[in-house]
Amino acid sequence: MAVEKEVYSSDKLDEAEGAAIEALRTASQKVIGDPDQWLGELPAGNIFLTTLDIALDWARRSSLWPVAAFPACCAMEFMSTSASRFDISRFGMEVIRPSPRQADLMITAGTLTWKMAPQIKRIYDQMAEPRWVIAMGACGVSGGTFAQSYSVVPGYNHIVPVDVYIPGCPPRPEALLYGIQMLQKKIAKERNLSGSKKE
């Protein structure tokens, strides 16, 4: 049987992809710290807008829209969380956006391989600021049982900055909801306009 070469991806494309993955892998050996430690170092402002801050934070934390980027099995628990029994829409989060441009929260449900890492980074980069990341599950936190593997990223914080870590394999929906509430409390403390560092 003659197999036509056209059905296969070109060698050049594969080599370019491989080079991109290797470059990302080399650049991502260090862990990115908590955004609170390095974000928001704006020039010191002398306007004090606390009341508006409270309104902004309230709006942001009450309508966190997750992006649909769930690489592996923790997504099952996320589905459970978003379904009627645990009902994520109590937090104004039921709109799961397929487009990262309309989302402001990434819930990293599942193992991330180096081959998938450039796509996750691209989705994160496409999300509009302000944006937050919840590392869900053992693999999201540290690579979990695959941390020493040849193909798995040892924690999403090598690729994107993570705000809240939820351990578990997989975490139960209650744990995810608790993590979401922690993130909401974190957002509530943010000072967006005063220019001062976050508390």
Partner: protein
């Protein structure tokens, strides 16, 4: 239920049609010589009494001294199945004939074995890494990896 064929009978027929191909006739599987794997596969597919029109899967295994490649064959028409094995004793640059020309389903499976164990399937139309990326060094499922 799909019936397993008697490996002894298959081995007898194989040694008549493809002389010198059978190494170990009895047991759960027919163990054939690696040089004859393509001839054996062609015969098993095309002979009317076998008619193996479906390759369920290919497995690669590392036993330190040799690599073993296992073919699970099924016939939908005859409703029987057979396991064929072959061994590659060379560790440095193991090669084996590709069966992609017979069963298209072998395409990705042989690429996966090449990707993770480094067995080069000769005659494969597109032999390159499938799960790992171009530029990855080593073959992770080999015993000496890490």
């Amino acid at each position: 239920m799909t019936q397993p064929l008697n490996t002894k009978e298959v081995a007898t027929k194989l040694s008549q049609k493809v002389p010198g191909s059978v190494v170990q006739p009895a047991g759960e599987a027919v163990l054939v010589d690696k040089a004859h794997i393509l001839g054996v596969a062609t015969y098993l597919k095309e002979a009317p009494e076998f008619d193996f029109d479906f390759l369920a899967d290919i497995t690669g295994a590392d036993y330190y001294d040799y690599f073993e490649v296992v073919y699970h064959l099924t016939s939908f028409n005859k409703n029987h199945r057979l396991i064929v094995k072959t061994r590659i004793s060379e560790r440095g640059n193991p090669t084996l004939d590709s069966v992609t020309g017979l069963w298209r389903g072998a395409d990705f499976q042989e690429r996966e074995i090449y990707d993770l164990m480094g067995i080069a399937f000769q005659g494969h139309p597109n032999l390159k890494r499938i799960f790992l990326w171009e530029g990855f060094v080593g073959y992770p499922l080999r015993k000496e990896y890490l």
